[in-house]
């Protein structure tokens, strides 16, 4: 047993129990295996004591007590099964049942209903009431959530959850007494984050999943616990499926499990239809006379192997490259790089993590030995100061955002948000509202804010003493470097006062436990690598790396970005984040694999495209990647792909790139395979198979194995588990959340004054400020809460919630342009004499700072991605195509570019 800080001993039902001070009696009982009945109490919520079900008798207390909000006391004697207590349980049941209908046979909660269970256990088998039951009028609520108020027992769990956990407050208790109904403002249709939390937490069938309405009886569903395939928050969820139909019926999540502890976002809860999407590719396809035709697997593999061998023979293995999606499992990424490096013999292997995450990994690996979060979710929640920079966290990482909300709302942390964002109360929560002193900055200046914070830390002598003592040279060099950045410049660029920056720096360094989270608006903007390096300086200097409970946390977008890079699906890294140039480590790997591996540093995704255009890369093997669909035309991606002699696309769907492919191989989705994903904390979590793959689709790892055999270089694994075992063996020194002290010492010693000087030189300003496009507004391609890459586009319910991209802009800018919600606007950029434009609907968001606008990147057909600046990071080869300067005007009578092109696209 773990030792308690302040133990309190009490007696419940004759059993002596010792628990931590502050524990509620109901929880103390639970720890001792004694079940006190309850309704309104819940592990996720603060006690509310409104249902009276948990009444117990306590010695020396005159009346019965609600055990859910009664803290334990030394020597307390509690009886939950005394006659008085049992009588109370019976009468409470009687009261609740007085109004409850008997529609269990057709209620979706039937079989998992807390009221059914308690009635069975605690109620007399007859009622004292003969009066009519209340029958609230049935009114429409939402397409996603079904409301049946006659079943409501007014425990308020839903309302409390939406407030306490989500900070959304989209539902309310309307009216009073026995007329209470859970509803919205003026009984309007529900508009919220659609996290499904209220559905999950409702003990009865008053709130149920309308998308799955009447589709199931809970006990008939097969339950498979796995990890969400959308974002890197890494939520554990349960896929509930009908075996006979091979279909997911609904998704749930266990309150006690996973990193999310039962919380999900709309993508996890309602986004499962992409699995059984009718758009899935069911069979391999080969291009014949310009058309893709279905082909048997054996021959498709043979064809792939034969053509790859042919290209290797003619041009050498280095004319072949491969890119894998960060949505694939660790096992698949590991096998993919083995296939390329060993079976084919090429060093050119990369992944979609190149798109920003590699900036974090490259910078942080230099500093700390790995690129994972150094403060896990628990530490975020327990932190005294949390800074979120370069991410609108609710939209990019909703569950990580919940941890930040808990830090502020439950534990009183000081939150500092940094971004072009303002307060806004709306159907979607907004961290800025929880920040006492939010730093609303000029869009695109986030990296300048980081540098200015470093400057403030050294100038104000806020340096962590141990660092100041141990790394004097480093500190002196940083001090020298930041002198290049005068305050007036920092102020002008960021739109913040030096005082505000200094105050934030003081909070960070003064906090007992501080956590900094950073996201795409740093890592996916030009200069991303340098920005993360500067952020690492901030972390080192303020002690985020040395103070327990503190940390620097990179946020990832796709679910397994962290994993695929760690598995070596990157030209610069071998499995285990080993630098390919590290001769000794390569030899160790050669021992383990018993094979020679290519010694050259390979090409990144962006370099591969360039080499294809130059005619040096002849074959490209894409796994789950769709560069044509995601990159702007200015990257020259189409030309690159068309120059290839062989393009293989392995994907669950036929993508835009797939339409150009010579060979399309149908891959299984995440629900159809086994393996592991690594979330951005660095937790490796099991992915389990819930369904049989659609059609003839196969798991990616299986296809790699077959292809390796076809190439005459077998990589044989009977299961994904065998690959997992090999990974464990080979990567005995896998990094974990702790930092590598030796690496850090080396880094601090090696870092040259020149590099630091370059890092803190203000330069000509961020790309977005320079603005190639010449407009007056800064455009950022952003992420939406309801989408994830383009995968969510295949999820019918998410497409119902957010069917199109809209340009979000500040109401004052909208007013200036004469634009109302839903009006079309034309975005234009001028690049020399060439002008490009896109027409999209606009929406006003008070949250968006004036001069800033953003468009969700999940709708590339809208053409907005063609307006942004394209550049490639000189160090990490990260492609930047997320921002630009645009002119905006109202487009009267114009049709959206989106709808025109989407119609053409979807009309396949």
């Amino acid at each position: 047993m773990t030792t308690l800080k302040s133990p309190v001993t009490l007696t419940i039902d004759g059993k002596s129990i010792t628990v931590e001070k502050g524990t509620y009696v109901i929880d103390a009982a639970r720890q001792a295996g004694i079940h006190i009945p309850y309704f309104c109490s819940h592990v996720k919520l603060a006690p509310d004591a409104n249902c009276r079900m948990c009444l117990v008798e306590v010695e020396k207390m005159p009346k019965l007590q609600t055990s859910c909000n009664l803290p334990v006391a030394e020597g307390m004697v509690v009886r939950s099964t005394s006659e008085k207590a049992e009588q109370a349980h019976k009468s409470v049941m009687d009261f609740i049942l007085a109004n409850h209908p008997l529609d269990c046979p057709m209620c979706d909660q039937g079989g998992e209903c807390e009221l059914q269970d308690r009635t069975h256990a605690y109620s007399d088998n007859y009622s004292h009431y003969t009066e009519a039951k209340r029958l609230p009028e049935k009114r429409y609520f939402s397409p996603y959530i079904e409301r049946e108020m006659s079943r409501c027992i007014t425990c308020m769990r839903c309302v409390r959850y939406c407030d306490e956990v989500l900070d959304v407050k989209a539902i309310a208790a309307v009216n009073r007494g026995d007329r209470v109904e859970i509803s919205t403002f003026m009984d309007r249709e529900l508009d919220c984050e659609f996290c499904g939390g209220c559905v999950q937490i409702c003990p009865v069938g008053a709130f149920t999943n309308r998308v799955a309405l009447y589709d199931y009886r809970p006990w008939q569903l097969k339950k498979t616990e796995t990890v969400c395939a959308y974002c890197a928050d890494g939520c554990t969820l349960t896929l509930e499926s009908k075996v006979s139909e091979n279909q997911i019926v609904r998704v749930t999540s266990d309150w006690e499990k996973g990193r999310n502890l039962g919380d999900l976002c709309a993508k996890g809860f309602f986004g499962y239809h992409m699995i059984n999407s009718p758009e899935r590719v069911a069979a391999p396809m080969i291009r014949q006379d310009g058309r893709l035709v279905e082909w048997p697997w054996i021959e498709a593999i043979e064809a792939a192997a034969q053509r790859l061998s042919e290209i290797k023979r003619r041009y050498g293995a280095e004319a072949i490259g491969g890119v894998i999606s960060a949505r694939c499992t660790n096992e698949e990424a590991y096998l993919f790089q083995k296939l390329l490096r060993l079976a084919i013999g090429t060093p050119h292997v990369d992944s979609s993590a190149r798109d920003g995450h590699l900036n974090s990994v490259r910078a942080l690996t230099r500093v700390a030995g790995h690129g994972r979060m150094t403060a896990p979710y628990e530490a975020i929640e327990a932190a005294r100061v949390v800074m979120v920079i370069g991410a609108d966290l609710t939209e990019t990482n909703p569950i990580t955002a919940l941890k930040v909300k808990a830090a502020v709302r439950k534990h009183g942390a000081n939150l500092i948000t940094v971004g072009p964002y303002l307060k806004e109360i709306g159907p979607i929560s907004n961290l800025v509202n929880l920040s006492q002193a939010p730093l609303t900055v000029t869009p695109g200046s986030e990296s300048m804010v980081v540098r200015a914070l470093v400057k403030a830390v050294v100038e104000e002598r806020l340096i962590e003493p141990s660092v100041a003592a141990q790394a004097q040279t480093y500190v002196a060099r940083v001090e020298a470097a930041v002198t290049q950045l005068p305050w007036p410049v920092a102020e002008a660029r960021t739109g913040l006062s030096a005082d505000a920056i200094k105050a934030a720096a003081r909070s960070l360094s003064g906090a007992e436990r501080a956590v900094v989270l950073f996201g795409p608006e740093l890592t996916r903007q030009a200069g991303g690598y340098d920005a993360v390096c500067a952020l690492a300086d901030l972390a080192i200097l303020t002690g985020l790396y040395s103070k327990p409970g503190s940390g620097l946390n990179p946020l990832c977008e796709e679910n397994n970005e962290m994993g695929v890079v760690e598995m070596g699906a990157a030209p610069e890294f071998l499995p285990g984040l080993i630098d390919v140039r590290n001769e000794a480590a390569r030899l160790r790997l050669r021992e383990a694999w018993k094979e020679e591996l290519p010694s050259a540093t390979g090409w990144s995704l962006t370099q591969m495209l360039e080499e294809a255009r130059q005619g040096r890369l002849k074959a490209l093997y894409l796994v789950g990647e769709d560069p044509l669909g995601s990159l702007p035309a200015s990257s020259g991606v189409r030309q690159a792909l068309q120059s290839l002699e062989l393009l293989i696309c392995q994907d669950p769907f036929l993508t835009e790139t797939g339409r150009l492919a010579h060979l399309v191989l149908p891959a299984a989705g995440f629900a159809e395979k086994e393996g592991t994903f690594t979330n951005h904390e660095g937790r490796v979590q099991r992915v389990r198979r819930a369904l049989e793959p659609v059609g003839e689709a196969l798991p990616d790892w299986d296809i790699f194995g077959q292809l390796a055999a076809g190439l005459g270089h077998p990589l044989d694994y009977a299961s994904a588990g065998e690959i997992t075992d090999e990974i464990r063996r080979v990567l005995s020194d896998r990094p974990d959340g702790r930092i590598d002290g030796a690496v850090m010492a080396q880094y601090l010693a090696d870092l040259t004054a020149e590099e630091l000087e370059a890092r803190y030189r203000p330069g000509p300003g961020a790309a977005s400020e320079r603005g190639r496009g010449g407009g007056s507004m800064t455009l950022v391609i952003s992420q939406s809460l309801f989408h994830s890459g383009k995968l969510s586009r295949r999820a019918s319910e998410l497409m119902r919630i957010e069917p199109e991209g809209r340009l979000q802009l500040n109401p004052s800018d909208a007013e200036r342009l004469g634009v109302e919600d839903g009006d079309m606007v034309r975005l234009r950029t001028m690049d020399g004499s060439a002008s490009r434009e896109a027409v999209v609907p606009a929406v006003r968001r008070a949250k968006i700072a004036p001069g800033f606008c953003r468009f969700p990147g999940h709708f590339p057909e809208a053409g907005v991605k063609e307006l942004v600046d394209w550049s490639v990071d000189p160090v990490t080869q990260t492609p930047y195509f997320r921002s630009g300067r645009v002119m905006i005007e109202k487009a009267v009578g114009a049709a959206a570019t989106a709808s025109v092109q989407a119609a053409a696209r979807e009309g396949v």
């Binding site: 959304v168 208790a173 009216n175 919205t184 003026m186 109360i425 919600d821 006003r844 008070a846």
Partner: protein, 187 residues
Amino acid sequence: MAHTPYNGSSQRPAGLSEAARLELIETAKRYPIKRSAVLHGLRLVQREAGFVTEAGMRDVASLLEMTPHEVYDVATFYTLFHLRPKGEYLIQVCRTLPCALGGAESLLSHLEQRLGIREGQTTPDGKFTLVTVECLAACGKAPVMQVNDDYHEAVTTEQVDRLIEQWHRTPPVQDAGNASTRGKGRG
């Protein structure tokens, strides 16, 4: 789904007057948390509009940094807030036990008959609204009814007829929205 924020600057019907907004902002400063002033906000809305309007609730929400759902939650809890327009004269008949024994039911049916409306309704000319309420805390003088801010105790049908005559002739003293209980006995 629109996902429109509640505090966007959309054009909408007027809620609180400028003076009331300022008053609410001032009141909110007295509390550590702004939202504590929500009852006062609703009271201002009702005082200005005669009832709690949608636009008024939105204004209160936005000034106090709450969602409109939360304000609606509060507004629908208190019976002294009216979510629909009510007549110039709001007649509240107590129906709790002492008044029920004292003849509340016949008082109510007499009123219904005289005004030509049922409980919960408003006369077409907007003059009268008739509702029933729980104990008005004047049980000793049952049956009791409250009309706007005035209490009428031990009410008889003749008295009702007289009062209705009088009300038809004169408009009420303006402070109908004032929800405070300034019950003054008269008998």
